[in-house]
Symmetry: C2
Subunit: 251 residues, 2 copies
DNA sequence: GACGGTATTTGATCCAGGTCACACACGACT
DNA sequence: AGTCGTGTGTGACCTGGATCAAATACCGTC
């Protein structure tokens, strides 16, 4: 589907535009990553040189499944979903994870030097630092500590994927929905006297894809929870978890 | 379930015994790993010092889920299954992968320094090289190329787990069974005039756990395939794939 | 406010696969 | 040989969630 030498997808993103933020230089932005905290000054210099700041609007695809992997992306600001598509005619998607500030995207495929095994799409406007594959490998060789940290990132991703598999196989749809809501809430929620309130960054369709069920089934499950007084699906797209404990019990 | 300071499980394995193989020293065994090919002589010296040869019998658990991670294991000979258990009363298992010679086990948990996120059990008699966690990290720091290689191992594991998720979500049970059979056959099969013959290292129960379905459903699916002349479930536990192409078409 | 397009809800139906129950096959031990 | 125990095959049933179909809510635009 994509030629071996196709340009990196972000180069042709409609949402991509030059970054024009004065209060934060590229170097300073990179130094904010907890993942890289404590590494050499020289490392950051080299990383700043090797990287590009990238700003994309909500909804734009960072990279797609099958596309050649040209770079890894450090997420400075924003949220994105990682997903896989079924090859078939009626292409369903499965969301593998939703990542936020401080995460690394596309690392596995970049290290393997294989095409992207997943797609990534911005859920909100994002600020990213792109590091090209060869530069990354070179940096890892020059600054050994970096390799170790990135290996740990991959280890964590491995665990998350195992959790996902376990969730899909062992738990029923309502249980998975409950967990998904709790996960979203801890990332995006604000605690009030009524409960935890949030504007989900995921549409119903995407929530369904994250839980591995159909959109209709998700809708029904949410309605049921609302009916039982555990959730409040307030007017303007807001979701309020009225009884977090009740919800947790359904996991 | 396991105390923080429990001894590593292999120390109390009934199947564990001293290795008494003359024709192969520990050093030579380690140098056979493709994963480590081309690394410094010094590295292998250090690795040999830091590692223990371990021989376990078929069916013994190498480590269990939740157990503290003390070491990584390089699989020299044999096959093992990696799995997750559902916490519940009727503990179901899900097999995450079946690995053979040259694989690394328990790497992710060791790097994270967290308890094992999975269990590992020998399917056949195995020869393993155990490297303790701290030694591994030290080696990775001293020999940067090692970190890169291990990071690539984790990247590959990540892709495999994504594949598993996709398989579970997108494909039906018969499709997953077909793929499982083909995977097993390529690993363990021998091509004959009748088709691909093999003694599965997995029991029916385990095949079911690998495909994420019930034992009964697996049994039925196999019978169906046999009825259709695609498979021959010969007397003595052998499986023969009579029509590999037909089977592949069912994926 | 009317209109067209998209996202979501709700209802009705169907079936893949889980679960239960039991029969059978095989090996190990006495 | 008998008899456990463990693995496996098969039938009968039932349900969770997919799928199809249609109604409704929600936008932005004119």
């Amino acid at each position: 589907m994509y030629g071996e030498n196709a340009p990196p997808s972000w180069a042709r993103l409609p949402g991509a535009r030059c970054r024009a933020v004065e209060h934060l230089t590229k170097l300073e932005g990179l130094q904010e990553f907890e993942l890289l905290a404590g590494l050499d000054e020289g490392f950051f210099q080299a990383l700043a040189i090797a990287s590009e700041v990238l700003e994309i609007g909500a909804g734009t695809a960072l990279y797609r499944e099958g596309e050649p992997s040209g770079a890894v992306y450090f997420m400075g600001e924003g949220r994105a979903k990682l997903y896989r598509s079924s090859g078939g005619r009626k292409a369903r998607d499965q969301i593998l994870g939703v990542v936020g500030d401080g995460s690394v995207l596309g690392l596995a495929s970049a290290l393997e030097g294989k095409p992207q095994s997943q797609g990534a799409t911005a859920l909100t406007d994002c600020v990213l630092y792109a590091v090209f594959r060869d530069d990354l490998v070179h940096l890892m060789a020059s600054y050994p500590e970096t390799s170790l940290r990135l290996a740990r990132v991959l280890a964590a991703r491995t665990r998350e994927l195992e959790d996902l598999v376990g969730d899909l196989v062992f738990h029923s749809a309502p249980q998975r929905v409950a967990r998904m809501l709790l996960d979203l809430a801890t990332e995006e929620g604000r605690v009030t006297k009524r409960g935890v309130v949030f504007h989900p960054s995921l549409s119903r369709q995407e929530m369904a894809e994250a839980t591995g069920i159909s959109r209709e089934a998700l809708s029904r499950t949410l309605s049921r929870l609302a009916q039982e007084g555990i959730l409040d699906l307030g007017g303007g797209k807001t979701v309020t978890i009225l009884k977090p404990a009740e919800l947790r019990a359904r996991t």
